[in-house]
Amino acid sequence: MENTTHTIQLTLKPGQHDGDGQRVAEAAARHLGLATGRVRSAALYTVRYPLTETQLSDFATRCLADPVLHDVRLNEVTAAPGFATYILVARRPGVTDDEGTSAQNALADILNEPLDVHTQHIFSKKLYLLENDLPETDLRRIAEELLGNKLINWLEVGRVADGIRDYTPRPGGGAEAITEVISLTGRTDAELVQLSKENIYALNLEEMRAVRDYFAAAETQAERKAAGLPVDPTDCELEIIAQTWSEHCKHKEFSALINYKDLETGEEKQVDSLFKTYIKDATSEVDRQLRANGNDWLIKVFSDNAGAVRINPGSLFVWKVETHNSPSAIDPYGGAITGILGNNRDPLATGIGGARLLFNTNVLCFGNPEFHGQLLTGQLHPRRILEGVRKGIEDGGNKSGVPTVNGAIVFDDRYAGKPLVYCGTGAVMPMQFAGLDSWEKKIDAGDRIIMAGGRVGKDGIHGATFSSIELDETAPATAVQIGSPITQKLAMDFLMLAARRGLLKCSTDNGAGGLSSSVGELAGISGGAVVELERVPLKYPGLRPWEIFVSESQERFTLVVEPGKMAEITALGQEMEVELTDIGHFTSDGFLDVRFDGAPVARLNMHFLHDGVPRKILEAEWTKPTAAEPQVPAETDYTETLLKLLGSLNICSRESVIRQYDHEVKGRTIVKPLMGATGQAPQDAAVVRFNFESWEGVAVSNGIIPRYGDLDAYDMSAGSFDEAVRQIIAVGGKLPNLTPGDGIFWSVNDNFCVPDSVYDPVSNPDGKQKLAKLVRMCEALRDATAAYCIPLTSGKDSMKNDFKADGVKISVPPTVLYSMTAKMQDVRRAVTSDFKQADDVVYLLGETHDELGGSEFYNLFGELGANVPKVDFEKAKALYNLVGQANDQNLIQSCHDLSDGGLAVALAETTFGYGYGADIELPETDLSLATQLFSESHSRFLATVAPEDVVAFEQLLGDRATRLGRVTLDGQLTVRHAGQTVISANTATLRAAWTNGPVNKLLGVSSSTLSH
């Protein structure tokens, strides 16, 4: 007799190593102080599909179990003797279950029958058995803090003796597919605001009034009557407007009119849109200069999912960096993985779509992972956020086959509420697909709207609006999205082939705002669209029409296909097992028209939708923070200080994180994050070649220095920009536009992440100062792009990075990340940071100033200081040009940029690659010894030159190069000043201090396993 529900339990055979169980026991002891005794892990599969006993047994033993590793139990959930308690980790209804899906694939193969893989028949779970008889509260802590997240997992705990409670989700059964009407007329201002808050529209009063007025207008009324819509807006219409007008999608604050006052100088001015003034116009000016000099490689900026520049006559480089902060705060793993996959979709769906992804980068900002205080309600421990985000990046990048080539981690307690998770992706696209320009998005009325990839569920509803407000303890569970890298990989493979066969007219990704956003934006090109929502395939029944339209279920693309190509593209989708659904067509009647089963659920004027949002007027006031230089005791021996710096949170090795990312899949990574014979020399920028046929490639860097913003946001932004530029110069890159038609492209993304910067006397009393910081950050950006002639090609702003709970608000410091890419003509000429040979001469390039303000050195003393490093763009540019010329002549053997920890830390790091030492004599200058060693003045490098090249090098660099000493064989770093030895350490000791720092320790990598 066939039974329709079965359970399969896999346990490891006696004697097999249970790494998973062991890690749970260790983590419980280490992070929660709980003694679990032995922990055994088991995999559980619940199968809701008619199977005979033989079929079930065959499936379990031949498909799921590894004959070498596993014992199989069928239809019994029991524990081996000796285990007192258990934790069952299942998924909540509707949460993505890739393991279950794969098991279904396997079942279909062994049965040799078609089995709808889009309906969930198999549910995977994990069972942990604990030796010790822990009380339920302790079991819950282990379950909730180490094993699962309450928002996505269903957790059962208890005593084995009481029977193991199983749980299998039953998704669906929710609301019927009805559309409600919400009347706005007659509502008071307070009621409008209340409505916005209750429904998570994230619209302010003025915006709500504009919506009310649109629907009240006689013209609208007449149109609605004619089209058969109710007088009042539908729930779907309000959701579409809220999504389209969200800060996340509309960048209202970057477009606002800002009244700026400098209280220091008395200067007052009005900024007519930060984006237009400081980003768009600045790039237009750069483009003008580039073109005047025959450099016409800037192809597409700001107007698509990613920016595009020309590599050579045949191909484009596409580059996008985004953030995924709010989701990562409440579900770090899911937030990070959907961040990566979502950002991947941007270059994939730029222009026609189908670019080939080349690499990922990521920059992460976390609170101190060793935090020991009390957490706020709903706040996750920073260590948990770090580990979850790290794992999300691992799976998001590795499982997509995209190398993670570069990144950074910044720690600051103010990121303990909301972490910042920046994801960047570079891609290569041919200039043409089937004879059409690949970067263009063209749509005509009549073209079909095709949804491709994953199905739609309740996941991610309100993501766009939710990320536009501050986080609090009531964050909705539906805002969480779970990524499925394998689903996206299939869609990505399909998209590449469909584009190359000329089957796509264009495409875009479904990210924030789901179909509402993707179709709404594409409809702007043709002038309208009709969507038939009942056709959209769902993960499970029970979604209302508006939910289907705004759901942010992942791994989906919206494709534009000409009717005549439907048959061919449908066949390709079937061949590659990617679900394609025709959900409507584009029009040119000026309306976004959404229907369900033929009945209208939304009909909005496109002009109102895209241009009807009222403009914000914001106030900014700049007061210079009072700051003073501290008295720090002068030392004669700074060896101990250097060791402390190397082991400090913001400088120490990230090897344990880096090695869990695949940084060389595709076989094109030339400069990796860690290099040298030891594999432990940190590099400044990554270098990746484009293909195997030429040596052309791209250098990739990230500049971010939030702590300088506490002294001056302008200098912080300028310094971050310079840091990213000099990292590319360090690896052998060259500034753009130095010679006519040199074709050295640069493509930069700016990503601003700031706290709520809209003034409110009660809830945000320092809002004007915060906004002034943002204005200053943008001013620096404009100055930097002009000075270096480097264009911005895309970017993002995230405006409400605050976490509020229990009456406490944790706000991120104003942060900007500049993510830079630049063409490398020949990757074989790349320069790495580590010393190459004994007797090479060591130089400091650039000028050191009395600029210890905001330094890691001061931070050791708990001081901030006052003298923040400033960028002299003209001097910096002159130096970068000379370094480029020196590289043209092959004069530089190693080059490392000076940043956190200054010269002393750079000296130590350059010895990490092989075991060479250095003999250094600091010059006599006006600067104090501590300043010479630890100042973080910008635009500086530590470079080495072969003895035979010293004359040529010094002639070229002149007084911009200060000779410091030479590389030695003895593995000893010795620094002398004024006749005294001020640092003397074995480089192995320095490296051990660096590798045994808090990050590697936290992630469980001990010194013996790292140093060799």
């Binding site: 794969s102 880096i658 076989g667 990757v827």
Partner: protein
């Protein structure tokens, strides 16, 4: 011309560098979606060597390579109930070659094509989670077992390559199987320390594999698989220490160590093909 078939799709992601390796070695490489083979649009028998690249086939959700191996073993293609594994057995019996890297190696092991001591293609060993419990990308040194006799490794003594996996620990269930593997030299590659000797010390042995084994062949030497990625070391500039090495030896070859394996097998097949019948006409799959 030697013809290499490289499978892709369903999460496989190292197909491009795999194809580049064959092209650099002078062969013709064709990348084909697995469904094109399963649905009969492409026949493996038109090729000289069948290749399973690395990646995360089906997300590795049930264990690395499991779902793909399952598909090859059980999915019946066409009315005669033939599986792709049936075709692969025929392919090997015809004297042709099968090569798996990383996830591809895992597939060959889970299918039982490696080590295949018994000759009946049932799983005899397995590859599972690294002893460290984590995925790792790091470079290792391999030593070729002098007892092994596969043409893939001819003339190679040691080899530097990156590993990039979370489930590369070879587990051999019993002493008899281990003895059979060792006596036939099927454990053709061993993780080595700085002195070139086999080692069980992390991170030189990155996963804690039995016999410190990084790769296996079958008794014929025609089927070969390994956890590390030779196709990621086609150019000297892939090595983490390339810059210092080129300084020491500017005249050194610009080829990477990994390319040697591909050159070996391409040369071997080319030579074999010249003494036997010319290759059959090929369907154009580009």
């Amino acid at each position: 011309m030697v013809h290499a078939l490289i499978l892709t799709g369903f999460g496989i992601n190292c197909e491009e560098e795999f194809a580049a390796a064959y092209r650099l070695a002078g062969a013709e490489a064709t990348i084909v979606h697995l469904n094109q083979v399963l649905h009969g649009q492409v026949s493996i028998h038109d090729f000289d060597i069948l290749n399973f690249p690395g990646g995360f086939s089906f997300g590795d959700d049930l264990g690395s390579g499991v779902v793909l191996a399952n598909k090859l073993r059980y999915r019946q293609n066409g009315p005669d109930g033939r599986t792709l594994l049936d075709d692969i057995k025929q392919f090997i019996a015809d004297g042709k070659f099968v090569f798996g890297i990383c996830n591809g190696f895992q597939v060959l092991v889970k299918l039982g094509l490696l080590p295949n001591i018994s000759g009946d293609v049932t799983p005899e060993v397995t590859l599972t989670h690294n002893a460290s419990g984590r995925y790792e990308d790091r470079w290792v040194t391999l030593r070729v077992n002098p007892v092994s006799h596969t043409p893939f490794l001819k003339g190679i003594d040691t080899l530097e390559v990156p590993v990039r996996h979370g489930e590369g620990r070879l587990v051999i269930p019993d002493a008899a199987t281990q003895a059979a593997i060792e006596s036939a030299g099927l454990n053709c590659l061993t993780y080595a320390d700085f002195d070139g000797g086999p080692t069980d010390v992390y991170p030189f042995n990155p996963n804690g594999a039995a016999l410190n084994c990084a790769g296996l062949t079958d008794p014929t030497g025609q089927v070969f698989g390994l956890m590390p990625h030779p196709e990621a070391f086609l150019s000297a500039y892939n090595h983490p220490d390339w810059a210092r090495r080129r300084r020491q030896n500017p005249a050194a070859s610009e080829e990477g160590d990994g390319l040697k394996i591909f050159k070996n097998i391409v040369a071997h097949i080319a030579q074999k093909n010249t003494v036997t019948a010319p290759a059959v006409q090929l369907a154009n799959q580009n």
